[in-house]
């Protein structure tokens, strides 16, 4: 992403996030959960963006494994870090919502258990990249592919297994007031993802440049 595009997308993300609290405040209360249901407007977009980050990381990892492209590896690492960040946001906001609407912070049902396993897979990916040494990029790429394969199961888990988590039918059936606020937040999170993944990939490019400069100094 060039600098001009980076600034434009970044500014759009800032504006959308600045307006998001108003959209959320204007959205109607949900009939059974009331005020606390408004956690939904950041909770679900965070998971959407986590899934997107996992797919980006998984596909880039597949490209790196197949064609040994460092650029794809850098993108995979950046997206994996963001998947962990947005997964953590989902795992923090979810229990705060659950405490009020379910009466418990956590429930070991299929959806929540799979969600924490997916988060741990990407924590393992990052630990592997940091401490795995030579060759850890290929091993981590396999882990990212494994994480990506888990996403569809996590998504449909609420429809297949018995759980108190709302089903996937909630989003398509949102009323007009909720629909606009929700998709506004989804777009804001997507723009944030695009900007941050570009910045994080740039950091990896600069780190590769540092390695090249060290090699150049040793050659002298």
């Amino acid at each position: 992403m060039n600098q001009r595009m980076f600034v434009v997308v970044g500014a759009a993300a800032v504006l959308m996030f600045a307006f998001a609290p108003l959209m959320i405040a204007w959205a109607p209360y949900e009939s059974t959960m009331g005020l606390v249901q408004k956690v939904f407007y950041f909770h679900v977009p965070a998971w959407f963006v986590m899934f997107l980050a996992i797919f980006v990381s998984g596909i880039a990892s597949a490209v790196h494994l197949a064609k040994d492209r460092p650029a794809a590896d850098r993108l995979a690492l950046s997206a994996a870090e963001l998947a962990t960040l947005f997964g953590a946001i989902g795992l923090i906001t979810g229990p705060l919502w659950a405490r009020k609407s379910w009466g418990v912070w956590w429930q070991w049902d299929a959806r929540l258990t799979m969600a924490i396993i997916l988060e741990l897979i990407f924590v393992a990916y990052l630990l592997l990249r940091k401490y795995g040494g030579a060759g850890s990029d290929k091993l981590a790429a396999g882990l990212a592919l494994f994480g990506m394969a888990n996403v569809p199961f996590l998504y449909i888990s609420v429809n297949v297994w018995r759980t108190i988590h709302p089903r996937t039918s909630v989003v398509p059936t949102l009323g007009p007031g909720m629909f606009g606020a929700f998709w506004w937040c989804v777009v804001a999170f997507l723009l944030l993802f695009v900007v941050v993944v570009a910045a994080r990939t740039r950091l990896e490019e600069q780190r590769a440049r540092v390695d090249d400069l060290h090699l150049a100094l040793e050659d002298y």
């Binding site: 949900e30 956690v39 946001i89 709302p166 059936t173 007031g177």
Partner: protein, 95 residues
């Protein structure tokens, strides 16, 4: 009614009680069914407002702490790498 019929009726009642008893008792312990859709309403019930607000505020605050913390970590790491690049470039040009 003979004693035999009373006994048979008692056994039937006992059998039904044993069969249905646990089911009826467990029905109260079943988790709430998952929601299929969110139904909007105009006003939140008054008893719902105070307990929910701190959780909602905590959720949104923690999201911003996570996002800004991560952006700050990228900025800090980028500054370190840029300094290292400048230093290595200077040493390379000195040779």
């Amino acid at each position: 009614m003979t004693w035999g019929r009373v006994g048979a009726l008692a056994i039937v009642v006992l059998a039904l009680g044993m069969a249905l008893g646990p089911t009826v008792a467990e029905a109260g312990l079943q988790p709430q069914p998952a929601l299929d859709e969110f139904v909007p309403m105009d006003q939140v019930p008054p008893e719902d407002q105070l307990p929910a607000a701190p959780l909602l505020i905590a959720a949104y605050s923690l999201v911003w702490v996570c996002v800004f913390g991560y952006l700050w970590s990228i900025w800090r790491r980028m500054a370190t790498v840029e300094r290292e690049i400048a230093e290595l470039s200077r040493r390379l040009s000195d040779r």
